[in-house]
Amino acid sequence: MSKVSVSPEFIAEAQEIVDALNRDLIAVDQETRDGNQDVDPDRINNLFRSAHSLKGISGMFGLEAVSSLSHDMENLLDGMRLGKVSMDAKVLDVLFSCVDRFGVLIDEAAHGIVSDPSGSETLHKQLEEAATGTSDEEKVDLLDTIDLDKDILSVFTEYEEHRLRENIKRNKNLFTLRASLDLATFDEALAALDEILQGKAEVISKLPSADEVEPGNLGFDIIVGSPLNEDEMEKLTKGHVLLVVPIGCTHEVIPPPPDVPTANTANTANTANTESVAPQSGQDTGESPAATDGKDGGKQEPPKSGGGGGGGGGERPRAVQTVRVDIRRLDRLMNLVGELTLTKMSVQGISERLKQDFGFTGLAVDLHKESRIFERRLAELQAGIMEVRMVPLDNLFERMVRIGRHIGRDLGKVVRIEVSGAHTELDKLIVEDLADPLMHLIRNAVDHGLEMPEQRLAEGKPEEGTIKLSAMAQGNHVIVAIADDGNGINTERVLERAINRNLVSEERAEEMSKRDIYNLLFTPGFSTVEQVTEYSGRGVGMDVVKTNIAELSGIIDVDSAIGKGTTFTVTLPITLAIIPALVVSISGQVYALPLNNVLETISLVDIVIKTIEGREVISVRGTTVPLVDLREIFYLEGTRPEGAFCVVAGVGENRMALVVDELIGQQDIVIKSLGRRLRNIPGIAGATELGDQKTILVIDMVGLLTELTKLDDGGDRTKVAV
């Protein structure tokens, strides 16, 4: 035994595989007990694949005891799925013992203990014995008796060949189903076809073809075996496939006698071994000792370790208590919470009316009390689901450290990356989408931010450049910062470059603030480095970073000091699944503005509205922000009332102030799509429901700001019909 540290991902995946083995074995056990002569081939193949995967990963992660045991198990299961070995109660018992043993070994590994394979010797021996039922395939290859293209046969795995032989042996009709499926959705189409064929045909193989059947489509040849005839198959698959081509038989095939399981015909030459492992009928299975044991133990439970496993016994401890869940399932739950929130508000509305109409007594008090409890529990439920979606940033940060070091090495810079706050958690989907922009920012910091070692020494800085990658939670947001101690952003050079590239006029340049100038870094086509390096690309980086972050409803800010360094700060919402929104009204219409992008709300009463180049602007904390009236953009009737408000919103470096007539309140919303046809309306993110069963539109702040920024860059306002 030795002590090591094994990655938790490996432990989780290994445990999942062992659970799958266990599940499939229980199902097979059930099938053989029910007297089925043929175990579902897919199930045996699944077992084989599980053993195969377990062997693969355990070998890679240095767990020799697991990998050698799964190797022998894989051998046995391979023989079984290829029809060379039969499944019976005794073999099942050995397999169950292996699963128990895996459980023990993986649990040990989770605690850093690695056993050598000698502890599982008895099991190894039993697996080997069981696998010796092997014999060669029959002399006449049935595959020669059918009229199937050799090219197609050449891509069949051994298992697929075996399934093809089995279908021929059973006198099934073979067909090639030719389908032409849309490139974007072929997975779903294939799954739909599988469903139709379920129970009526066995899919032996699916072959994609490189020739386009129709433009934008991918051709598939699906080889199936089925008792149906050509007409029936055509009827069954109508609308799903283009063509049904029967694969002819060139020889007469004698069907096997009905009672004899065909899987064993190959074993007749090896009688002694076959008899000991093959279940010839349901009765045989019933008589074997393991099956009798199993009956006593109840059907759902696998037999306990047969004693050969060594070390098992008793309750099998679980290595890691985790469940992997498709994030879409959590989305559905979150949607339900959103709907319950609406119900909650309706109930509160009723409670309020009851209070007003009949006074706050009796039932009204009870209802009020209960609805408060409902509200609290619902908030807990929402927080609970949110918690499940959250993952720490540590994995992502580790990757960034690796990438940063690597780039530094390649560029001849000495880089140290200091990470802090890596335990900060964010919605998994956001973390995934954050990888690309973060990578660009790290690349940028190493490449543009940090100076070469000689230059640093000359400036009196340490040779080693430091990049601080940090994360911290702040309310409903997470702030990720990338700070380098390099030479900072030279605003003069940025301006010069922007003017040379016609990104900004000279007149405009003169009145630009530091912030405006930094903003130029995010303009498409901007790059201050003369030499384009392979890491920073061709100036595509920063504008893409900005867009990516904006798509996550995030904001990016830059701060820099000459000689001291540059800091990029990315502010992200912790989730996009359910978001707080500000409900407002404009010209009698009610809209929701996602609060993620809202910076503040200001009453317009005491604010001076100036007009610059025909556009209204206001001054917010020293910055000039354009005033945007949605009445103009959405062609709403009516005029701006006295005492209107404005909502200051920011996306990335851009700011705007939206004029609203009335601030109605704040509410958590779940954004619903407007459906295919209305999906791409600029300025509208979707719709949401308010408690009174009213549906309102949600403003797409990011989209709106992006459209407006385009105007800044010389566009004509009237041309943009939003």
Partner: protein, 121 residues
């Protein structure tokens, strides 16, 4: 920047292979869970190297290799088959279909790095 596609159904293995390739630097690693997943990527991307397992659900590695070789974009792309020592017959088939090289799991990290380097030229 060169592009490498890793097709592997085991997440832990995919992550391991992906990070080893990534360590080489200047490489964009794209991951696919199985053959079908890879089909989505192939028509629109040009990869400089494809690493694939053979035994995978939903379109096995052999079918994928045959498809890659028939595809104009990738008729010359090197394919490194990363699989276990079982199924020798399948490996021979992969070879006949146009796989460029093999790596047997479990492998030493340096072995994978060497092979990838060599195949990327």
């Amino acid at each position: 920047m060169r592009k490498v596609l890793v097709v592997e159904d085991s997440p832990a293995m995919r992550e391991l292979i992906g990070s080893l390739v990534d360590e080489l630097g200047d490489i964009q690693v794209t991951e696919a869970e199985n053959g079908l997943d890879a089909l989505h990527l192939l028509p629109n991307e040009n990869f400089d190297l494809i690493l694939t397992d053979i035994n995978m659900p939903n379109l096995n590695g052999l079918e994928l290799i045959a498809f890659i070789r028939k595809n104009q974009n990738h008729s010359e792309t090197p394919i490194l088959v990363v699989t276990t020592e079982a199924a020798v017959a399948d490996r021979d088939k992969a070879s006949a279909l146009g796989a460029t090289a093999y790596l047997i799991k479990p492998f030493e990290h340096s072995e994978l790095i060497e092979k990838v380097k060599r195949l990327l030229g």
